[in-house]
Structures are given as structure tokens and as C-alpha cells.
């Protein structure tokens, strides 16, 4: 029955005392228990990129032929877009959970209020919810990676690292998604999520290389998080690995730090008044 005092972590000085009980795994347990009945959402999230891969990779790919890979060597169109779809599925799974589901719990279920009456603090809730979104994004990525393997699109042992990379990407999108959700006032604001996600999905070199854009547009695309995710995945699945990929990783580490911090602070402001 005793409750351990949370270990002091320097980063936590950003938050009021008692914001973190080190028990975010209890939220994962809650989400896992609750999602026992929500299998359909998982299944549909898995099939979406598979349909894209078949329709565009096989269908459109037969017209497109070969494209230059990350190192300039030609690869099939399916092999080109598959890592893009992998990155997008990690993003979609994470964003969906961290926005729609979190918003509902925040505004209607008042679930977080109930949690904050226990030793849990806002950082536990933020990490727990983001963690679940990350697991969901990770599961989509795992499913899609298996499909890629089935189509023979994983040609390098480096592809094994695509799964942990997908988890990092999902973590980053979930963290920023939850932070953004904390500022939303009504369901109408979710059109903004679609407005951000859909163009990013279409234009972040998912379906064609960056070289088709004029230079100024290339710079815009290079700022988008999904671009970095796609580059990371494409390098790993085709085996073109270089040190510059650490730059992409850094991008996501920053997203994670900012997202978790803002989401926790906003929960504090919204619920602990």
C-alpha cells in the first residue's frame, strides 16, 4: 500500500512537484484492456497502406518503371514508395490515437480527472497516452513491414532497424499530436489535423523523389517531419545507410522532447487549476 516517491529527474524540474509518479505503464494497461474490443480500428489501420502499396506500387508501378534510389541506383517503384508508406502508417496510427482518442477522453470522458485524483500526475498521463499511440503506430509499422517482406521489398539486413525507427517516428508524432490536441476546443479543430497530415502524406517524397520539385519547394518539404521519416525508412529498407541519418533521428528526438513537455504542461494547466 505504500507509494514510492518518484525519483528526481532533472528534466522534471520543468513541472510542479508531484507531476510524475513513474507509473505511466498503468495507462498502457488501461488502454490495452480497453482496446480488447477495438480490433477493427487496428485492422483497418493495417490495411490502408497495404492497399496503397498494391494499387500504386504494382498498378501504377508497371507504368512508372524504375526510379533512382537513395544512392542513385535504380529501384522498382514499389520499393521506392513502400518505405514512404511505412513511415506514413507509423505517423497515422500515432496521430489518430494521440488526437481523436485523447480529445475525447479530455473533453467528454473526463478520464484524466479521475486519474489525477490518484497518485498519477500529468507527466504519467502524457507518457502513458503517448506510449499507447506509439505502440499502435509501431504495430501498424510491424504489420506493414511483414507485408513488405512478403513482396520482397526488404533487400538489406538494415531493414531490421526500420521497426525501431518506426517506433521513434510514431513516438514523435504521438507526442506532438497530443500536445496539439490539448489546444483544441472542438471537433471542428480536427480539420486542421487532416489539413496537416494529408498534404504531408502526399508530398513528403512518399510517392516520388524530392528532385521533381523546384529548389524553394524542396526546402519546404525538407522541413516536414514526414520527409525525415521517409528518408530514414528508405535508407534502412534499401540498405543505403549513412551518418547523415542521425540528423533525421535528431529531428524526432526534438519533436519528442517538445511534445511530451508541452502535452504534460497543458494537462497541468487544463486539469490542475
Amino acid at each position: 500500500m505504500t507509494t514510492q516517491a518518484p525519483a528526481p529527474v532533472p528534466w522534471l524540474r520543468l513541472f510542479p512537484a508531484g507531476s510524475y509518479a513513474g507509473r505511466s505503464h498503468a495507462l498502457l494497461l488501461r488502454s490495452a484492456t480497453a482496446s480488447g474490443r477495438a480490433w477493427l480500428a487496428f485492422v483497418s489501420g493495417f490495411f490502408e497502406p497495404v492497399f496503397y502499396l498494391i494499387a500504386m506500387g504494382q498498378g501504377l508501378g508497371s507504368l512508372v518503371g524504375m526510379l533512382p534510389g537513395p544512392d542513385g541506383a535504380p529501384i522498382s517503384y514499389a520499393a521506392f514508395i513502400a518505405p514512404g508508406l511505412l513511415a506514413a502508417s507509423a505517423m497515422n496510427g500515432a496521430v489518430f490515437d494521440a488526437t481523436f482518442n485523447v480529445f475525447f477522453k479530455l473533453k467528454y470522458g473526463r478520464l484524466y480527472e479521475a486519474m489525477l485524483a490518484t497518485p498519477l500526475g500529468p507527466v504519467d498521463i502524457a507518457l502513458g497516452e503517448i506510449g499507447w499511440a506509439l505502440i499502435r503506430g509501431g504495430l501498424y509499422a510491424l504489420g506493414f513491414l511483414s507485408v513488405m517482406a512478403g513482396f520482397g521489398l526488404l533487400v538489406s539486413p538494415w531493414a531490421l532497424l526500420a521497426l525501431p525507427a518506426a517506433l521513434v517516428v510514431a513516438f514523435a508524432f504521438a507526442a506532438v499530436g497530443m500536445a496539439a490536441t490539448s489546444f483544441m476546443r472542438s471537433w471542428q479543430d480536427f480539420d486542421l489535423v487532416t489539413l496537416a497530415i494529408l498534404p504531408m502524406f502526399l508530398f513528403s517524397t512518399t510517392f516520388y523523389p524530392l528532385s521533381v520539385y523546384p529548389r524553394w519547394l524542396q526546402i519546404v518539404v525538407e522541413c516536414l517531419p514526414l520527409f525525415h521519416a521517409v528518408e530514414l525508412m528508405r535508407g534502412l529498407t534499401t540498405g543505403v545507410v549513412h551518418l547523415g541519418m542521425l540528423g533525421h533521428l535528431t529531428y524526432f528526438v526534438v519533436m519528442i522532447a517538445v511534445g511530451v513537455t508541452v502535452a504534460s504542461r497543458r494537462l497541468d494547466v487544463l486539469l490542475l487549476r
Partner: protein, 310 residues
């Protein structure tokens, strides 16, 4: 200050401000172990804000506050580990079953899987929800949801239970069942703090209470003490035809005190029947007359000049 040494809650000059609005304006409270303590007052009196500060989910603006001997600003999680909270509006987890609500909530306190499993079975019994254990939460009746919320607040075997308007919106039967469960907890030694705007609830449940109005405490004592101090033994309620209703000042000499409500006059007196006879002798003809014992409602009316609004 011997009492304070054993006090579970001690507040001095407690204040809470939201922007320009000061919801709690300097409150002193001592709650002793084992007692049922009430905050009585109309909506907006500052009861819930005070409760939230005690529950360590709302930082105080000013004043001192000790809960279980600790400062909520410093030891919030440690305090919350040892208290149970029943919020004003049920916030059960609609994605979980009745039993899962208890089990998962227990896990938030860091309790083991085996412990919460056994505890949930025991609490389902307590809440009389055993046969609904594996149902969804949403179809439960208001009274059932309330009992589940109370059961959930007991999952960590709290020393202090905070109940914010526990029976608001329930039908009389559900209220009585709930009160009976709260008595049982009191007998088991669980200290309880209750907010309510129901006088009968306060009289039924509370050993001691404070009356709050406009963010301050206007009176403090046991229900019987408060009635004795602020009211008379009996009240004569007179209803008149609006056209024939006498001015309160005219009828005032017949009683110790007269309160004028929109639909009736209340005459405060030691002997209601006697006063009723005098009213008739003086030539007033009410449509109806009722003699009753004084209640906390009368105390509140005396202290604030208003009836409690629901």
C-alpha cells in the same frame, strides 16, 4: 492544540482565486480522524473549490493547508495515495467494464494485479454490483454509477474519503441506499468529508459541519448545535392568499423572528401550536398552516437571508 495533532485536515486562511474571482476567501477548517465532516452551502459557495484543494488537484492561492500531516503543494502524490475521491460528476471509464473500472483504478495506485483482483470482488459486493460486474458502465442507473464511483474511491483503502455532492440527482431510494453505505464506512472508521446542498443529507450524515456562503464560513458546529444556536425549536409555516397576505412586520410580534419567502411566511417560535393559535386570535386567516421542527434549512436562511437553491 491536541485536536489538531490528530487532525486529518487542517486549513488556515485558505484561499482560492480564479483570475479576478475569489472562490474561497480565507477558510479555517479542522477535520478530526473518524468524523464525518460536512461543507454545506448553495452552488457557488466555494465548497467544491475547497474540496479540490484538499484532494490535491488544485493548488491553493494563499493560506496554509495540511492533509494527513503533509502539504499538498509538496507531497500531492503521497497524499492522494491515501485518500479516496468521489467527484461531483461520475467520471467512470466508459471503455471498461464495471469490474475493470475497479481493477484498473487500483493499478493507478500501484497495487498488484492479485491485490486489485481480490479487492474488486470485495468492493463489488459492497456496492451491490456483483451481478453487473462484467457489464459495461454506460447502461447502469445513476445510483449504480454512484455506488461504483464510491467503490472505486475505496480501492486504495483510504484513510480519508472526499465526497462532492454524493447524492445529487439520485432518486430517494438510491439516496437512502447510498447513505446506508456511507454509515457503514463511518462505522469502519473512514473519515469522510462531504459537500452537499441538501439539508437532510447534512443532518443525516455529518457529525460536524460548516456552512459556507460566498467563499467564507458563516457558521460551524454539529447539526443540533447549529439549530440550537441559530434557530428556534419550532417553525410555523403560513401560506396566505396573495391578496390577503399580511406584511411580515405586522405579524412579527407574534414570533421570535419572521422570514418572508415568496410563497409563505416562516414564524420562528418555541411552541408552534401556541403561535398558530395566537395568529388565529389576531384575526389572520392563512390558507394553510404547518408546524415543524427547525432544520438546517432554517439555520441557513437565518445566516444568509436566502434559502438554498438547487
Amino acid at each position: 492544540m491536541l485536536l489538531v495533532a490528530d487532525g486529518l485536515v487542517q486549513a488556515r486562511g485558505l484561499r482560492k482565486r480564479f483570475g479576478d474571482f475569489e472562490a474561497v476567501r480565507g477558510v479555517d477548517v479542522d477535520v478530526a480522524r473518524g468524523e464525518v465532516f460536512g461543507f454545506l452551502g448553495p452552488n457557488g459557495a466555494g465548497k467544491s473549490s475547497t474540496m479540490r484543494m484538499i484532494a490535491c488537484v488544485s493548488p491553493r492561492t494563499d493560506g496554509s493547508l495540511q492533509v494527513l500531516g503533509m502539504d499538498p503543494d509538496v507531497d500531492g502524490p503521497r497524499i492522494r495515495a491515501r485518500i479516496g475521491v468521489v467527484p461531483q460528476l461520475d467520471n467512470l471509464d466508459a471503455e471498461l467494464t464495471v469490474r475493470q473500472n475497479l481493477q484498473i483504478y487500483g493499478r493507478y495506485f500501484g497495487l498488484s494485479r492479485a491485490h486489485v483482483r481480490a479487492k474488486a470482488t470485495e468492493l463489488l459486493e459492497f456496492a451491490q454490483l456483483t451481478d453487473r460486474a462484467d457489464d459495461e458502465v454506460e447502461p447502469l442507473s445513476g445510483g449504480m454509477k454512484r455506488r461504483l464511483t464510491i467503490a472505486r474511491a475505496l480501492v486504495n483503502e483510504p484513510e480519508l474519503l472526499l465526497l462532492d455532492e454524493p447524492t445529487t440527482g439520485l432518486d430517494p431510494q438510491a439516496r437512502h441506499l447510498l447513505w446506508e453505505r456511507l454509515y457503514r464506512l463511518k462505522r469502519e472508521g473512514v473519515t469522510q468529508i462531504i459537500t452537499t446542498h441538501y439539508m437532510d443529507e447534512a443532518e443525516q450524515l455529518c457529525d460536524r459541519l460548516v456552512v459556507m456562503d460566498g467563499g467564507v464560513i458563516v457558521a460551524e458546529g454539529s447539526p443540533a448545535e447549529l439549530i440550537e444556536r441559530y434557530s428556534t425549536r419550532e417553525v410555523l409555516e403560513l401560506r396566505f392568499d396573495p391578496a390577503l397576505r399580511p406584511e411580515a412586520a405586522v405579524i412579527a410580534p407574534l414570533a421570535e423572528r419572521v422570514e418572508e419567502l415568496p410563497d409563505r411566511l416562516l414564524l420562528y417560535t418555541a411552541d408552534g401550536e401556541h403561535t398558530h393559535a395566537e395568529v388565529a386570535r389576531a384575526g389572520f386567516v392563512p390558507l394553510s398552516a404547518l408546524v415543524r421542527r427547525s432544520s438546517l434549512e432554517d439555520v441557513f436562511l437565518r445566516l444568509t437571508g436566502r434559502t438554498l437553491v438547487d
